[in-house]
Structures are given as structure tokens and as C-alpha cells.
């Protein structure tokens, strides 16, 4: 049932550039970048029970790493950019995570928010290095050594770049699927449901939380690097705390209790936002109301509403 739905969704996404207007094809690009980011965020949120309110930090690290490489270092290879973005995110996340995972619940959220704002302020204030509020351009990267110079920007984004991003999303999803269904994933669930018991069972709670933090940061770094080329520019708002809030919002909207929930959340968020903004300029008002409704009436998110027979918070199975 689920695998059929996923296969259908994947087929639809592959078909989009042929059937949909270019505008909608381009909207799929941020969706895929956010999808990757949220897969990682949900490892923390849904599986480990830690809600990060500063994950835009790693999105920003990835995006700025990519912009640096393309603009300043003249390195155009997207494969290399993604690797560097992932490594940069991991390097930042290692000390940040080590501090953050010492706390849970609201303190964890606040500490991640503080670190996110440190990065935001840094990129905003150190103008010479980061371009301040104007950001840095993120020119078109080369895919597998080809720069597709013969294609216009739209054709490039709606063609090769689209499938490249989709491939990264699929690989990221497969890897994450393996992670959450591994013994490591089970340990994380145990930590979420009962940290004391996990400790008694010999699971190093802080260490596992730190691993989960690192992995989720790497995902956000990769997602951030993919977010850059469609807009052609990265700026500090990527790392602002409300952006982190939106990431959590998307995850909750789709359903943090299920594997594909966050990806669905990213999709609905992007398209709904686009549609609402075309009708009224006040998308935050509408989205605030939606978020309030989801929190109050459907904490399991969209997938939680579909799968009523399962409990809204999945318990560890087998």
C-alpha cells in the first residue's frame, strides 16, 4: 500500500517536467531541497524526540558553502559542492551538537535557536566575507562535469538540475530509510520514548543524540546547497530563526510520526504558500491559522490524518 503510493508519487515527480508548466517545475526545486533537509530534521524530531529551532543554521551553512565555492573559489562541480556542504555542516554541527544534546525539550530548542542566530548575525554583520544582507551569488553549478552552457537558466533548472536534485533526494531518502530501520534507528526511538531505559540498556544516550544531530545537519547542509542555484543567490534570511520555525512547521504539517510525512509537508507547504501568495499577500496569516489548526486538531499531520488506524506517535515495532 505504502510502497505503491511512494512509487506513484515518484513516477509523478519524474513526469512533472514533461507535463507541468515550467513555473511549477521550478517550484519543485525548493520542495526537493526542503525534502532532503526535513528527512534529516525528522531524524531528530520524529525519531529522537528533539525539536531543533535552529536547523536553518545548517541550511545556511550548506548554501553559503556552495555560494563560496562557485563565486569565490570558481569551483563549479555540484558533486564537490554537495560534499563540501555536507562536511561543512558536519564540522559546524560537531561542537554545536555536543553542547546542544546535553539538553532536551525546550532547552534543546532554545540552544539550537541561539546557535542559529549566532550564524545569522555572523553572516549579516561580516559584510566583506559574506556580502551582508545582500548575500552571495550562487551561479549555475556543473553537473557531472557538464555546465550545460547551451541551455537557458530555466531550461537548465527545469531539466538537468531537476533530475539531479531528484536523484539526490531519492538517494537521501534511501539512506535515511536504512538509518531509521537499522539497530541505530531503533536505539534512537528507544531514547525518544524512554531515555532512562535506553541508558539502562547500555545505549549511550548523549552519544546517539549527537550522531542523530550530525546526520540531520549533514542532510540540511546538502539541502541548503541545492536550495541555492534555483534562486541564484544565498542571503542571511536562510538562517533566520523564523526559517527554522518553518522547517519544523513543514515537518509537523506532513506528519513527523511517519517517514514520508516531512517530504509531503514540504510539498504541501511550498505549493500552498505559492497559491496563497497569489491570492492574498498575507500568507503568514493563513499559514499561522493552518499551523494552529494542525497543532490543536491534527498533531499527527496530514499523514497522521490518513493513517488513523495507526497511533499518531508511532511506537517502536518489533
Amino acid at each position: 500500500m505504502r510502497s505503491a503510493a511512494v512509487a506513484a508519487a515518484l513516477a509523478a515527480i519524474i513526469a512533472v517536467p514533461w507535463v507541468a508548466p515550467t513555473y511549477h517545475v521550478l517550484l519543485m526545486l525548493p520542495f526537493m531541497a526542503y525534502g532532503i533537509t526535513l528527512l534529516g530534521l525528522n531524524l531528530l524530531f520524529g525519531w529522537t524526540g528533539l525539536v531543533s529551532f535552529g536547523h536553518a543554521l545548517f541550511l545556511g551553512v550548506g548554501a553559503y558553502a556552495g555560494a563560496f565555492l562557485t563565486t569565490n573559489a570558481k569551483i563549479r562541480s555540484l558533486e564537490l559542492i554537495l560534499v563540501v556542504a555536507a562536511v561543512a555542516a558536519a564540522l559546524v554541527a560537531a561542537p554545536v551538537g555536543a553542547l546542544c544534546v546535553r539538553y532536551v525539550k525546550i532547552y534543546f530548542g532554545m540552544l539550537t535557536l541561539a546557535f542559529g542566530m549566532v550564524f545569522y548575525t555572523f553572516v549579516l554583520k561580516f559584510y566583506r566575507l559574506t556580502g551582508g544582507d545582500e548575500g552571495i551569488p550562487f551561479p549555475r553549478p556543473a553537473l557531472f562535469g557538464r555546465d550545460f552552457a547551451e541551455l537557458s537558466k530555466t531550461d537548465y533548472l527545469a531539466g538537468p538540475y531537476y533530475y539531479y536534485a531528484l536523484a539526490v533526494l531519492v538517494v537521501a531518502a534511501v539512506v535515511m530509510w536504512r538509518i531509521v530501520h537499522s539497530p541505530f534507528g531503533l536505539c534512537l526511538k528507544t531514547i525518544r520514548d524512554n531515555p532512562t531505559k535506553a541508558e539502562t540498556l547500555g545505549i549511550g544516550v548523549s552519544r546517539y543524540r549527537w550522531y542523530a544531530f550530525l546526520i540531520s545537519a549533514v542532510y540540511a547542509g546538502v539541502g541548503g546547497a541545492l536550495l541555492g542555484p534555483p534562486t541564484g543567490n544565498v542571503d542571511p534570511t536562510l538562517a533566520y530563526w523564523t526559517h527554522s520555525g518553518n522547517l519544523v512547521f513543514m515537518t509537523l504539517l506532513g506528519g513527523f510520526g511517519s517517514f514520508f510525512g516531512p517530504i509531503l509537508g514540504a510539498f504541501v507547504f511550498i505549493y500552498l504558500q505559492d497559491w496563497v501568495m497569489s491570492v492574498v499577500p498575507y500568507w503568514r496569516l493563513v499559514f499561522g491559522a493552518i499551523l494552529a489548526a494542525v497543532v490543536i486538531a491534527a498533531p499527527g499531520g496530514l499523514l497522521g490524518m490518513v493513517a488513523r488506524r495507526r497511533p499518531p506517535l508511532p511506537v517502536a515495532r518489533g
Binding site: R102, Y103, G109, L113, V248, A289
Partner: protein, 286 residues
């Protein structure tokens, strides 16, 4: 002295944050939005007052009245939204206040438009004085004095009145307070409204000195957040000390090395969280 003025405003908003967190255990991200709302309502109230022929020297009266009255919006938020999630995980409570942040930001844009609003002409109505060799608008001194008075009033409310005892009892042990006959719905409604009114009053009072902008709410929340982390979540004394630390350090940083401005504040926040996770004045219970 600019730092102390800023600290006075920050104290009001953070006190609202603290009172709500202390009693209800909700970290209210929307307190910054209430602050912005208070600012806009303050501008409108003063404009109306001057148009109606009120003497400019009395402009603080409509400002304060409007700032306190619009705090009633807290009651609407509490009854309309927050009360549904009291028994949920605090993550959901946090996200619900984030929903309020989003809604309020656009509600303000819809009502007052996107261009900044100000009552700047009135800022120097009361003239300026020289304090410790610096020229300070008298209005700043009034606000600082008002914050001190409000701090004293909150202290009195918490320690000397029945409602204050109920609040502290609830903060300590909700179930026990409830078992002893405290009507939790009323306490929560009152506390949240009080917290909101402190935020809106802070916003109204800041307005003669600066323009009201729709982003001011989301920007202030991170400062108020720094204040309560430095001072310790839920602690009133902490809010006072934290506000002074943030306000003063920020104005020092701006004059010495502007790039450091908020960065310095966050570094203090992180240092406090690392070395004193419950803040300078936070209890072990937090």
C-alpha cells in the same frame, strides 16, 4: 544610558515571557508579536489623542492606556488557542505560539500597512537632561522609572497578594494547587493576559523613541529570549538582571565594535547555557 532605556523595555517584555513560562511552562514565542502590536496600537492611540486636541505633554497617558488595554488580546489567544494544548508536549505549545507569531505579523501588516509608523515628534516633548555627562531625553528616564515601578509592582503581586501566592503555588506544583481548589483555567487566563499586557506595554512605551515596524516583533523575541536565558527561565529577578546585561552590553558593543552587536549577546547566552544551564537566577526545577 541608551542601554538602560533599552533594558527597561526588554525587561517588560521578558517579564511577560517569564510570568507565562513560570506558571504555565509555555515558552511564548509570540511575546515579541505582542510587543509589536503594543507599539502599533500606541502609535495609533497617540495620533488619535493629538488629533482630538489633547495636549502633547500628556501623550504618555493614551500610550500607557492603549498599551495595557490591548494586552486583552492575550485573553483571546489563551482562550481561543492555547487552552487546547495544555496537556500536550511542550513542543506543540511552542509551535502554537509560533503560529501566533505568523498570524500577528500579517495581522499587523493588514491593519497598519508595511511602512514604519512613528510619533517621533513627541519624543523630545519633555526635553533633555544631562546625566553623567551624557544628554538623555527625559522620556527615557520616565520609561526607566516606569519599568522600575512595574518591577516593584510585580514583586509585590507575587509575594504579597493572594493571587501571587496562587501563581507561585501553580508554578511549583500544578496538580497540588489544583487539588487544593485553585481554578486553573482562571489562573492561566489571568497569567497569560498579564504576560501579554507586559509585552504590549513595553511596545507602547518604546514607540516615541523608535518607529514601529512589522519586523520588530520577531527581532525582539530573540533579545527577550537572550534575556531570559541569561537570567534563568521563569525568574523575575533573572529578567531584570538579564535585561540589564543584554541592554548594556549591546549598547557598549554598538559603540565599540558594531559588528559584534548581537553576536556578543548570543555568545553570552551560549556561555550561560553551557556553564549555568538554568541561568544566573534559575532554580533547579526549571
Amino acid at each position: 544610558m541608551g542601554g538602560v532605556f533599552h533594558a527597561a523595555i526588554l525587561f517588560l517584555v521578558s517579564a511577560g515571557l517569564q510570568v507565562v513560562f513560570g506558571v504555565q511552562k509555555i515558552f511564548n514565542l509570540a511575546c515579541g508579536s505582542f510587543y509589536a502590536l503594543g507599539a502599533y496600537v500606541g502609535v495609533s492611540a497617540v495620533a488619535w489623542f493629538i488629533d482630538a486636541g489633547g495636549p502633547p505633554a500628556l501623550f504618555v497617558v493614551p500610550l500607557v492606556v492603549a498599551g495595557v488595554l490591548i494586552g486583552g488580546v492575550g485573553l483571546v489567544v489563551e482562550r481561543g488557542l492555547l487552552r487546547f494544548v495544555y496537556d500536550r508536549d511542550e513542543t506543540f505549545q511552542l509551535l502554537l505560539t509560533f503560529a501566533v507569531v505568523l498570524m500577528m505579523e500579517d495581522a499587523i501588516r493588514m491593519t497598519w500597512g508595511t511602512s514604519p509608523r512613528s510619533t517621533s515628534a513627541l519624543y523630545l516633548t519633555y526635553g533633555q537632561v544631562r546625566v553623567f555627562g551624557a544628554t538623555v531625553p527625559v522620556y527615557n528616564l520616565i520609561v526607566i522609572a516606569a519599568a522600575v515601578v512595574i518591577a516593584a509592582l510585580i514583586g509585590w503581586l507575587l509575594t504579597r497578594t493572594t493571587f501571587g501566592r496562587i501563581m507561585r503555588a501553580t508554578a511549583d506544583n500544578r496538580e497540588m494547587a489544583e487539588a487544593l481548589g485553585v481554578d486553573m483555567r482562571r489562573v492561566y487566563a489571568k497569567v497569560f493576559t498579564l504576560g501579554t499586557a507586559l509585552g504590549t506595554l513595553g511596545g507602547a512605551l518604546v514607540i516615541p523613541a523608535t518607529a514601529a515596524m512589522s519586523e520588530m516583533g520577531v527581532e525582539l523575541i530573540v533579545e527577550a529570549f537572550a534575556v531570559v536565558v541569561i537570567g534563568g527561565l521563569g525568574s523575575m529577578r533573572g529578567a531584570l538582571v538579564g535585561a540589564l546585561v543584554v541592554g548594556v552590553f549591546r549598547s557598549v558593543a554598538i559603540s565599540v565594535y558594531p559588528e559584534l552587536e548581537m553576536l556578543l549577546i548570543y555568545l553570552i547566552v551560549i556561555a550561560v547555557l553551557v556553564f549555568r544551564p538554568h541561568g544566573l537566577f534559575g532554580g533547579a526545577a526549571a
